[in-house]
């Protein structure tokens, strides 16, 4: 195990939930890695301090008067009422009963069949072990009848590396992405599992829509589409791929990077981005960006619209489109960059200590100041998130 893998497991160690199978390799790593040991000790210290906090804190003032003034009639309840949280009834309860019954009946198998049964079980175990050695994720049917390769998914199953999950217009499925998240596969979708490693969770979305929710550090979950790769930088998004391989990304929480051929667009929460085959990702825009601006942006990004399209973008841009303009300052041709910057400053006040010349010359401090000003500092966001 390396540091990245172990760091992901530190909280499981603290909570005593580390799977037995991983304990030895984590222990071995910790034995040799002072940095991870130190991190574990520091986290443990936080928990020690938390457990020593007082259970009671007196409010700064007596609240009784305000409470007394609000006391109305008491409710009389006919039946028992509980404020206890009842844990959800496990669907496994009935299953377990069935398993026990099944075990009971198997014990009644006559001795004459025992050897044959053992052989079948042995072969079954071998088959199961060989199948299990292929990395796989759990899949659950949400609606209709999704298919994994040619097999219909009844309720739950697994998708292995190389296998394809297909939903028709009446089916949906949920994939549990290792231990880092989940992906809902919407109707009329087709995807394939490419990698299922701890540091590389990778799908190919050939067509359709997925809704991904990921709770892991950046760059552990990837979705390849015909026109770009979506790289999860934390949180939640919706990604749709059409029949021609173009895609639309809608980030609802956190950040997602789209990459293709060295071109990258980092898309924040509340923003969208379009990708086209052979062209990669376009310029991100807000979900409420006016249609006219979106069209002009598409012309600029994918149809060589140049200065003319850019001019429409600048005319239509609102203060709320500052993110789009800011990105275009660096994507526009040399002749247009200054104009885009001027339009940005006309809509959004310039951060303190920043000059037009400095930004256009690529001054890192000034660019960083703008990023913070527009809340587009991904590194800052990640520092806060992690």
């Amino acid at each position: 195990m390396n540091c990245t893998e172990v760091q992901l497991l530190l909280n499981d160690i603290l909570d005593g939930t580390l799977p037995l199978g991983q304990q030895k390799s984590v222990e071995l790593h910790l034995k040799d890695c002072a940095a991870c040991r130190q991190e574990l000790a520091a986290l443990r210290s936080v928990l020690d301090k938390a457990s020593a906090l007082p259970v009671s804190i007196d409010p700064p003032r007596d609240l009784w008067e305000g409470i007394d003034a609000r006391l109305g009639p008491q409710k009389i309840l006919a039946g028992p009422f509980s404020t206890r949280w009842e844990p959800p009834r496990s669907a496994n309860t009935n299953l377990s009963t069935e398993v026990v019954k099944s075990m009971g009946s198997s014990l009644r198998i006559k001795r004459s069949f025992a050897a044959a049964a053992a052989l079948v079980v042995g072969l079954g175990c071998f088959w199961f072990a060989s199948k299990s050695s292929t990395p796989a994720w759990q899949v659950a049917r949400l609606e209709g009848t999704p298919r994994i390769d040619s097999e219909a998914l009844e309720n739950t199953g697994t998708i292995r590396v190389g296998e394809q999950l297909v939903t028709d217009d009446g089916s949906r499925a949920k994939i549990t992405v290792g231990a880092i998240g989940q992906v809902n596969v919407e109707p009329n979708s087709r995807l394939r599992l490419l990698e299922a490693k701890m540091t590389n969770h990778r799908l190919a979305l050939e067509q359709g829509t997925i809704h991904a929710r990921i709770w892991a550090p950046p760059r552990l979950f990837f979705v390849e589409t015909p026109s770009a790769t979506a790289i999860d930088l934390g949180c939640e998004y919706l990604l749709t791929v059409d029949e021609e391989g173009a895609s639309v990304l809608h980030v609802t929480s956190g950040w997602v990077a789209l990459e293709h051929g060295g071109r990258e667009s980092i898309v924040p929460s509340g923003a969208m981005c379009i990708t086209r085959p052979g062209r990669g990702p376009g310029t991100p825009f807000e979900e409420d960006t006016p249609e006219k601006l979106r069209k002009a942006l598409e012309q600029f990004d994918f149809e060589d619209g140049g200065s003319s399209a850019l001019s429409t973008v600048m005319t239509e841009a609102r203060a709320a489109d500052a993110m789009t303009l800011w990105i275009l300052v660096f994507r526009a041709g040399l002749a247009d960059r200054g104009k885009v910057y001027d339009r940005l400053v006309a809509l959004v006040s310039e951060p303190e200590g920043v000059t037009r010349e400095g930004v256009l010359d690529g001054n890192a401090r000034m660019i960083a100041a703008w990023q913070r000003h527009l809340h587009l500092d991904f590194k800052e966001w990640w520092r806060v998130w992690q």
Partner: protein
């Protein structure tokens, strides 16, 4: 090496004690005696306020929530059957009030952002700055709201992820991620 850290002490349910927990003050409060209820308030307000102030991270809001908890307790006290300690029944009710407040707050901000991803954009949320040594209470107060709520319920109050996730209307994995996030931010805040 991986021994589980002892969970903070929580008041456990004690069904077997039946109605033994129906103290005189509780019985009288159930019959509408406000002075008895005031006594219950004085006996328990510290624990309720501690929960509220730690989970919401705002002292004036914590006072309002504490008042809400006791008003709700007054309304519902007739349903308390003594199947657990009154303190644990009250504590569960307080947690429900806190979570209800959190959910309504989330709905208010959902139009703008999903859950507490708002905080990274909100500089006023005052996330602990690395390198600044803080008291743990202060550091908890400065955590992003969802992370703070999960940390307090899990690491201080001793609730399980499954319980917290169900009540917050979120996935267990999200709950765990928020707890990890909270611990990491606290570690940074507490170590200069």
């Amino acid at each position: 090496m991986f021994a589980q850290v002892a969970a903070p002490e929580v008041v456990l349910e004690a069904k077997h004690q039946s109605t033994a927990f129906l103290s005189e003050a509780v019985r009288r409060a159930q019959q509408g005696d406000r002075s008895a209820f005031e006594q219950l308030y004085r006996d328990h307000v510290g624990r309720v306020y501690a929960l509220c102030v730690r989970t919401c991270g705002n002292r004036s809001r914590a006072e309002e929530l504490t008042q809400d908890v006791f008003v709700r307790t007054w309304e519902m006290i007739g349903s308390f059957r003594g199947e657990s300690a009154f303190s644990s029944w009250l504590h569960r009710l307080a947690v429900n009030v806190v979570l209800s407040d959190y959910r309504s707050g989330t709905r208010r901000t959902a139009r703008v952002m999903t859950t507490d991803d708002l905080e990274p954009y909100d500089r006023s949320s005052g996330t602990p700055e690395p390198g600044t040594t803080l008291d743990l209470e202060e550091a908890i107060e400065k955590l992003p709201s969802q992370a703070r709520l999960v940390f307090v319920l899990h690491d201080i109050e001793g609730y399980k992820h499954e319980e917290i996730a169900e009540q917050m209307g979120t996935a267990v994995g999200t709950c765990k991620a928020q707890l990890h996030r909270a611990r990491k931010l606290l570690r940074e805040a507490l170590e200069p």
